[in-house]
Amino acid sequence: MLTQTSKKGDLLLLLGFVLAVAFGPIILQPFGAGYPDLLQKFAIFGIFAIGFNILFGLTGYLSFGHAAFLGVGPYTAVWSFKLLTMNVVPAIIFAVVVSGVFALLIGFVSLRRSGIYFSILTLAFAQMSYNLAYSVLTPITNGETGLQLRQHDPRVIDTMFGINYGAELPSTTLFGIPMSGWSGYYFCGVVLIIMFYISMRIFRSPFGMMLRAVKSNQNRMNYTGLNTRPYTLAAFVISGMYADLAGGLMAVTDPLAGAERMQWTASGEVVLMTILGGTGTLLGPVIGAGAIKYFENIFSAFNEGTLLQIFSFLPEGLQHAAVSVAALFVGEGWHLTLGALFMIIVIFLPGGLMEGVNRIMRLFTKSGSGGSSPQATAQPAE
């Protein structure tokens, strides 16, 4: 598996990643995804999935409550915008710190159990957070309406520096650069690269190996003199902080925080992203997040008009039949497409899209250099 990884390989991977982020707008232009709003979504959900993968991919602990962290991020960030400054740096730092504490609490309790009980506990915590944000905590979260910026927010630091937004509703900035459009995307992109690099370091570290050992055999770990609890808790907190960072970035693009981001469907989505892309791989979760957000964007935009156009080559009776069937899979019903896609991947590519990529790569290297995978096949046991 990931034993002796070459430094050069990792460097190339990172370089490729940086290039992909930098030229993302150009590369994805032909696919109709070359605009900042969507690309920014790719980056944000990429961060979310990378973090989730540190917990799920390495330790095997399947959290169904990561949306809670994703949801806390925007609240913290928006409060920072309201009280301190419209600069995004403090907002993001606060988001990550607050969630770290939050994740520590939830993780401490949830990690007393493993397997399905752990999943249920995290799910329960996320739903609790969601309901709290909706009702009890209204003074902090502004309940159903969601937390919004106001003209007369104090913004202490901004006032100190004499920045006045006048009568307009202020927008987020990075030391004066407005965080909208392309600058917003590149900000998220740079954060994505940093977070990808951190995840790579963790994967390649002794700590990362211990996390994989947790997944493999906890009993052996205990009898080997290792305390599994702090390892799992650390992984949980790190992945919670990733989720919160993603949440914070959402608020950077759109300074509004609502409870609906904490709903369990968002937790489920990141599980899908990770599995679709390839659990436990470095690049997989980013690809999975991109694929799901891309398809969501494409398929949910279809309406009856576009479908009629697509099937216009059919005779009229058939055309309407085809449209009514296809309509189930697009627009509001695009989750049906996602479900079908997910099933196909899980059945034919259990390792996710990354396994597909690897298979294709192997095909090429085999025909290229005449089969250079001596370790890939299992040696017969004696």
Partner: protein
Amino acid sequence: MPILTVRNVNKRFGGLKALNEVNLEVEEGTVHAIIGPNGAGKSTLLNCFVGRLEPDTDTVDFDGTSLLGIKPHEINQVGVSRVFQTPEIFGDLSLVENVMIPALAKRDGAFKLNGWSAMNGETELRQKSMEMLGDLGLADQAEQQASQLSRGDKRRLELAMCLIQDPKLLLLDEPTAGMARADTNNTIDLLKEIAKRGITMVVIEHDMHVVFSLADKISVLAQGTVIAEDLPEKIKGNPKVQEAYLGGAHL
């Protein structure tokens, strides 16, 4: 000077008294075998050494430390390693990683948040692990996934994982259970080699062949009590042992 002292250990499971006033002393540098018929309490006793079970009373002292009430990983950290009946290894990882994990545990302790240092930098540790695999004849398979090994090789790997920690005491729970004859003989030879290094071992075993080829001293457990403790050649002739163990038949 005994390295492991077990005094007046009792263990009840509901109405069943699995261990009754068990006393045991294991001398440093010896192989001490615990034998006994099914249900005699052998595994229960072993589990009391390693923190899996909490015995009801008195003393389990190892090298001056009490092993009562402390967790498995803490027991390992004071120098007790354990081999399981079914080899417990990290099946998803490669052999060399399997050996490096215990080596790291020995060096860095029970937990270390070293997420920023690189595994590739651990050349010395890797070297040491490769040598250990070489000692146990597994060097060729070092990069292979551990779950693909045969039963006998899994046992070897598990021993490598224990030995890299340089344990003061090695506990073996039926090390040859479920093995083919050839594997059993190889394992016996291997354990003899390990004994020569001066590592104290406590072996629980069914197989008389294994016990008599390894042990320096044998304790016989029956119905939760030690009924005899002696040198192997004397145990063979002990009528109490023959009675309990084989219902009177000769060994």
